[in-house]
């Protein structure tokens, strides 16, 4: 039970700090809003766009925005501990390293969830995505895809704790790790929005979820060595 309490306390502290300053939330929100507006204005410039092209570009745009929004959040995951060169404030706590990883992952999921809720509404309006079938399946794809990308982001953030140039190291490690997930997530979204094939979309979503679980478990097994200086 101690690991759950520790995870909750550390996550709560990070969320209190984030909602107090809103630095990351604001940058993520602003980016997603601006990106949705840019993509929607692009559609207006293209004449005679086919329905398939419209859905393909909309889906790609949606996952592009989600990926880069998460990447902005990934930068902030360990920033409070590393910006004052005091990662030791985290390492000195009598908690299991797994609790540290879980707390950071949950913190990232909460802030990404908040921004995505906002961006989702904006995207539905501006990108004109109509979910032909089941909204619940669309949300499952969105949630599982987001969880997978957030887990990958949190792992990258953990791997780069001691990196001198995080802005360089994070994209180098993050993109190769998430490209298969983005392809599957985009495929799932298109299956649902254009082809209306809920079975294929659910299969894709389950692959994303399974991928997230596997890399999370592997990280939880190795986190003690990853976090040690």
């Amino acid at each position: 039970m101690s690991i759950i309490v520790d995870t909750y306390n550390m996550m709560k502290k990070d969320l209190v700090l984030e909602f107090r300053t809103k630095e990351t939330l604001f940058s993520m929100g602003l980016f997603s809003f601006a990106a949705v507006l840019i993509f929607s204005s692009l559609f207006k410039l293209i004449e005679n766009i086919t329905l398939e092209a419209h859905y393909t570009i909309s889906t790609a745009a949606m996952w592009f925005i989600i990926t880069f929004t998460i990447m902005l959040g990934v930068n902030s995951v360990f920033s409070r501990e590393t910006q004052k060169n005091s990662i030791y404030s985290l390492l000195s706590l009598p908690v299991k390293p797994q609790a540290i990883f879980l707390a950071k992952l949950l913190y990232l999921l909460v802030i990404v969830g908040v921004v995505e809720t906002f961006a989702f509404i904006v995207a539905i309006i501006f990108l004109n995505i109509s979910i032909q079938g089941n909204l619940a399946i669309f949300l499952i794809v969105l949630i599982f895809g987001t969880i997978d990308l957030a887990v990958a982001g949190c792992i990258v953030s953990l791997l780069t704790i001691y990196a001198k140039s995080k802005t360089l190291a994070i994209p180098i490690l993050f993109f190769p790790l998430i490209i298969p997930s983005i392809i599957i997530a985009a495929d799932a979204t298109k299956n649902l929005t254009f082809y209306y094939d809920p079975t294929a979309a659910i299969s894709n979503a389950l692959i994303l979820f399974l991928h997230a679980v596997i890399i999370s478990v592997l990280t939880l097994l190795l986190v003690e060595d990853l976090i040690a200086e």
Binding site: D6, N9, M10, K13, V16, L17, R20, T21, R80, K84, N85, S86, Y88, S89, L91, S92, L93, P94, V95, K96, E224, A228, E229
Partner: protein, 233 residues
């Protein structure tokens, strides 16, 4: 190495390298319960690295460490519950208030049953009412340092207190407060202080080790301190 029943920390052949640079070379050290140990040396001698290794913040490249006879590699989180560390880096979060910071760290330390009550008592005892509910970013260096001292030492002291350059940047009042904490601590609390200022820590310590280029080159008992001062001259 001679085994010692009273030993709270035992380091055997500890070595730490950063790339090709050896920060610590073959350190053997036994610290008994209740002792006040001083680690002194010039900048880059390896004393802060040694302190961080003992605080389980940095892993040694080789060697073994025991805490109360238990291997420090196992049950790290349980061992950390019995120790607190004060480094030159401030652990407090700028956007939390002093009260929130103390409550968070007391809660996480697991040594204190009622963190909120403990903070209330500290506010009264140390007259912190004026600034305890302000964000730490508004604190002066001295105020932040005072809160850091309270973070590691109140309301109960841990079994091991590790202090890295604790007196640097402290005003007279805070220096006296820290001296008082060390001198009047319970007999079972072990204190390890690392500093380059010999005179600041000499009168507090029961043993002082002099580190030079990553090795313990000398050790002194209180009666032998003059020898060190002569060496320094």
């Amino acid at each position: 190495m001679v085994t010692n029943d009273k030993a709270v920390v035992t380091l055997t052949k500890i070595r730490k390298t950063y790339g090709f640079t050896a920060a610590l070379k073959n350190i053997n050290l036994t610290i008994e319960k209740g002792e006040t140990i001083g680690l002194i040396g010039n900048n880059g001698a390896g004393k802060s690295t040694l302190l961080k290794i003992m605080a389980l913040l940095v892993s040694p490249s080789s060697g073994s460490m025991k805490f109360n006879g238990l291997d420090m590699k196992d049950r790290k989180s349980d061992i950390k519950r019995d120790m607190e560390v004060l480094l030159s880096q401030v652990f407090l979060f700028d956007d939390l208030t002093g009260r929130e910071n103390l409550e968070y760290y007391y809660k996480m330390s697991k040594r204190i049953t009622n963190p909120k009550q403990a903070v209330k008592e500290i506010i009264q005892k140390f007259k912190l009412k004026l600034y305890i509910d302000r964000p730490v970013r508004e604190y002066s260096t001295g105020m932040a340092k005072k809160l850091e001292i309270l973070r590691v030492s109140y309301p109960t002291l841990p079994e091991i207190l590790l202090l890295d350059e604790p007196f640097s940047g402290l005003d007279v009042e805070n220096r006296e407060m820290l001296n008082e904490i060390i001198v009047e601590r319970p007999p079972e609390t072990t204190v390890i202080i690392c500093s380059h200022d010999f005179e600041a820590i000499a009168r507090l310590c029961s043993r002082v080790y002099y580190l030079e280029k990553g090795k313990i080159s000398q050790s002194y008992l209180p009666t032998e301190y003059n020898k060190f001062l002569n060496l320094k001259d």
